[in-house]
């Protein structure tokens, strides 16, 4: 076949790993579905191990070559075919998701084991299948180089994530799942409209080719607006956040961790990819300022509402609303740097670090809340006494994750905010720095309240309702530590996330 000759030159060493990163989780899901019951869990755990290894191998391939890892599917060159590409940003996200999913997988063994004596139970089977599906979809979001394949990825992500919300089957969770579904579908439709418009105007959906052809004109502006609006609805940026708190708080703890820690990062990552890699010549500073203004509103509103919550899981969910806000402060900062002729890598790194530290910290927090609920039988913030003595590791994990959200050194959150604040000052956008500081202050109040309440001694004679397995606590603590020690990333060369980005921009034209 003639096209494969040129494709061979483009496919890089280790490119096949990208295909594996997508298809291994889905194959695991399909096989788990056939065997069902307890076997689904065994297949899922085996797939988790394999997937983690694949993610590490991709990172290794990227580090070895110092260039983006590319795979041309079927030997069909873009724009006719589809290319998979992993640059520094993709690889960092692949690794993060792999680590968090594995942590959640270990934790969920206790909550979603198939009960003995039953051939198959509903919730465990669905959870393990969807966990793998979420993973495969997220990996596709990170490595796909084609806007339509990315649409498929968004659809996969939606259909994998929505049922997680109503996993326990209560009426109100079904309602929040339905609301989530409607928001997510609206987002998909808007994204698809934008993609169609781009194809109509430029005749390609391949990211590097499109980036070379796109010009600042009405079709590109409309496509950008539609796609970003759709992705904001999926990411739940204020004021499109209304679906998030009931959905994330109503799900079982492990599912909440998946939803809050990982799923929203998929649509955020795609928004970032579009902004920086497709529409780099189209975006303007005012547009970026609008996004950041929404982010700032999210930080303030989310944190204030979180402070007023009486239930721990809702508090954590509103904290997610606020933390999503930080993810969007990066846009005007990076655009500001670029306009000033400076390297925007510092702002992008700040945003990425925020995403990673939030993914690990929020997963840990939701799972900690799940353990608190199991121990106490409720999650009322006002009545957390005795938790620290029953679950010392969990409270430590919650505090460490909270410290990362607040931005205390040496956490990942600290490094992220430090980078973003210093860029804000460099580019004379001090108001975003102020928002971040106020947000950190508000976050510290509710984290502090929760931790102090758990430290209060239990009533005399009180016993935990259930003792939670030690490995669950260890999984929570491990993720929290990841987030807390992420500040060590400062030791990495600063351009790790930038590997392959300029190279991917210059991919050959047909």
């Amino acid at each position: 076949m003639s096209p494969s000759l040129s494709a061979q030159n483009l496919t890089t060493l280790g490119g096949l790993l990208l295909v594996l990163a997508i298809l291994v989780p889905f194959a695991g899901m399909l096989i788990g579905f056939v065997f069902g019951g307890g076997n689904a869990q065994r297949v899922a755990l085996a797939t988790l191990a394999a997937g983690l290894a694949i993610a590490i191998a991709i990172a290794n391939a990227l580090a070895q070559s110092g260039k983006a890892v590319v795979y041309i599917l079927g030997g069909w060159m873009p724009p006719l075919g589809v290319a998979l590409r992993a640059d520094g940003l993709s690889v960092v996200m692949l690794l993060t998701v792999a680590v968090v999913i594995c942590g959640i997988g270990v934790y969920a063994r206790a909550d979603f084991g198939t009960p003995s004596g039953v051939k198959e139970a509903r919730a465990p089977l669905i959870f393990w299948l969807l966990l793998l599906a979420v993973w495969g979809s997220l990996n596709l979001v990170f490595v796909s180089g084609d806007l339509f394949t990315l649409y498929v990825a968004l659809e996969l992500l939606t259909f994998a994530a929505v049922p997680l919300v109503s996993l326990d089957g209560r009426t109100e969770t079904v309602r929040s799942a339905l609301r989530y579904l409607l928001y997510a579908l609206l987002g998909s439709v808007l994204y698809l409209l934008g993609a169609v418009l781009l194809y109509g105007a430029y005749g390609t959906l391949d990211i590097p080719l499109l980036a070379a052809r796109v010009r600042p004109e009405p079709a590109a502006w409309a496509a950008l607006a539609l796609m970003i609006a759709g992705l904001l609805a999926k990411t739940a940026l204020f004021p499109l956040h209304l679906w998030l708190p009931p959905a994330h708080a109503g799900a079982p703890a492990a599912a909440s961790a998946v939803l809050s820690g990982l799923v929203i990062k998929g649509s955020w990552f795609l928004a970032m990819r579009l902004w920086f890699d497709v529409f780099a010549d189209v975006v303007t500073l005012p547009a970026a300022q609008t996004l950041a203004a929404l982010g700032a509103a999210a930080i303030l509103v989310g944190n204030v509402v979180a402070l007023r919550q009486t239930r721990l899981k809702l508090l954590i969910a509103y904290s997610t609303v606020a933390q999503i806000g930080y993810l969007f402060l990066m846009f005007p900062l990076a655009t500001g740097l670029a306009t000033a002729g400076l390297d925007s890598a510092m702002a992008v790194n700040g945003g990425m670090l925020q995403a990673i530290s939030h993914a690990t910290a929020k997963a840990a927090m939701f799972m900690a809340a799940g353990l608190v609920y199991t121990t106490l039988g409720h999650d009322r913030v006002a009545d957390l006494r005795g938790v620290a003595s029953a679950l010392p590791m969990t409270v430590l994990a919650f505090a460490l994750a909270g410290a990362s959200l607040i931005g205390l050194p040496p956490s990942g959150g600290f490094l992220a905010k430090w980078l973003l604040i210093s860029v804000a000052i460099t580019t004379a956008q001090w108001w975003w720095a102020l928002v971040m500081l106020v947000g950190g202050l508000l976050t510290s109040v509710y984290v502090f309240i929760v931790v102090v309440r758990t430290l209060a001694p239990a009533h005399v004679g009180w016993n935990p309702k259930t003792t939670v397995p030690r490995y669950q606590q260890a999984a929570v603590l491990a993720l929290a530590l990841c987030s807390f020690l992420l500040g060590a990333a400062v030791l990495c060369p600063v351009d790790v996330t930038q590997i392959g980005r300029t190279v991917s921009r210059n991919t050959v034209l047909p």
């Binding site: 096989i31 030997g75 339509f148 259909f159 005749g203 009405p218 409309a222």
Partner: protein, 315 residues
């Protein structure tokens, strides 16, 4: 031709009126009928736009299977209909929604009208490479060669949707039958209808599937017809849906995507890339994938319409 233009304008006005009616009407059933009619008109529009592949999909999906699904949902919602009438959004909300939709539509219209002419397109490239895929229908080549992974993942989307629907089952009904017992009279008119219609319909479904390699048609459209015929037989009380824990059902449901993945990776050995086909073997391999996907799609589509398990499996 002015006559054709008149037909097009008439169709456009009709479809807009139907869309407005479907949104505006308050009664669920009336709205569903509006939607089915809308799907039918859309089929005509696709034919006028010389997109028979899309028209075929719309005829099968938009009017038929989605129509049946919505009708079933409306029938179930009937008892709560009067209660939900009171939950209408406020005038302000509706006005805002209307203004926003109108603004988006206007912006889209401006952009579409200003698109470059002639439009940049990949159609010539897709047609030029058709020879190396062995199939005659460029749509099939796009779906199963150039963008094979998208198609594989779309099939998985359908499966995920099914898993999502099943996840709404009651814990006690897990593993059971996805439908309440059918009380239709096995000697009634519906049974007679199904007995005559289903065999012919199945032949038509297989025919539409088979011609897909070279002409408009294909697995999605064929599978929709077969799923509709299966549901018809079940609705007439002549057969039952299988319980969701059946092993053969699960095997068939995943067989399509798994075969697709296996053939895809076989390309690594035989043709240098995943999802590539070795020279001269492209068409048989594409057909093998489509044949494997057929049962998956038929079962998944029919079970999606049937809904979550509701009845306990026999002990």
């Amino acid at each position: 031709m002015t006559l054709a233009l008149a037909v097009d304008i008439g169709l456009t006005l009709l479809i807009l009126a139907m869309a407005a009616w479907t949104i505006a009407v308050r009664d669920t059933f009336a709205s569903v009928i509006g939607f089915v009619t809308y799907g039918l008109l859309l089929t005509l529009v696709w034919v006028r736009l010389a997109a028979p592949d899309v028209a075929l999909t719309e005829a099968a999906m938009g009017g038929g299977l989605t129509g049946a699904l919505l009708i079933g949902a409306a029938a179930r919602l009937r008892s709560t209909e009067s209660a939900s009438r009171t939950e209408r959004p406020s005038v302000l909300t509706r006005t805002l929604a209307a203004v926003l939709s109108a603004a988006v539509t206007a912006a889209l219209a401006i952009c579409v009208l200003n698109l470059p002419d002639p439009a940049p397109t990949l159609a010539p490239a897709a047609a030029a490479q058709l020879g190396s895929t062995g199939v005659g229908n460029p749509v099939t080549a796009v779906l199963l060669a150039y963008r094979a992974m998208d198609t594989l993942l779309e099939a998985i989307v359908v499966l995920l949707a099914l898993v999502g629907v099943w996840s709404l089952a009651h814990d006690r009904a897990w593993g059971g039958y996805p439908q309440l017992r059918s009380h239709a009279d096995p000697d009634g008119i519906l049974a007679y209808f199904a007995r005559v219609m289903a065999p012919v319909g199945i032949i038509v479904g297989i025919y539409i599937f088979w011609i897909g390699a070279d002409f408009p048609g294909g697995k999605f459209q064929g599978a929709t017809i077969l799923a509709a015929m299966w549901l018809l037989v079940i609705g007439a009380g002549l057969a039952h849906l299988p319980p969701v824990s059946q092993t053969w059902l699960r095997v068939l449901l995943v067989a399509g995507p798994l075969v697709f993945i296996v053939i895809g990776f076989a390309g690594l050995v035989t043709a240098e890339a995943v999802f590539a086909y070795p020279n001269g073997y492209a068409k048989p391999l594409i057909l093998a994938i489509e044949i494997a996907l057929m049962p998956t799609l038929v079962l998944a589509l029919a079970l999606l319409v049937a809904g979550a398990p509701q009845r306990m499996p026999p002990q």
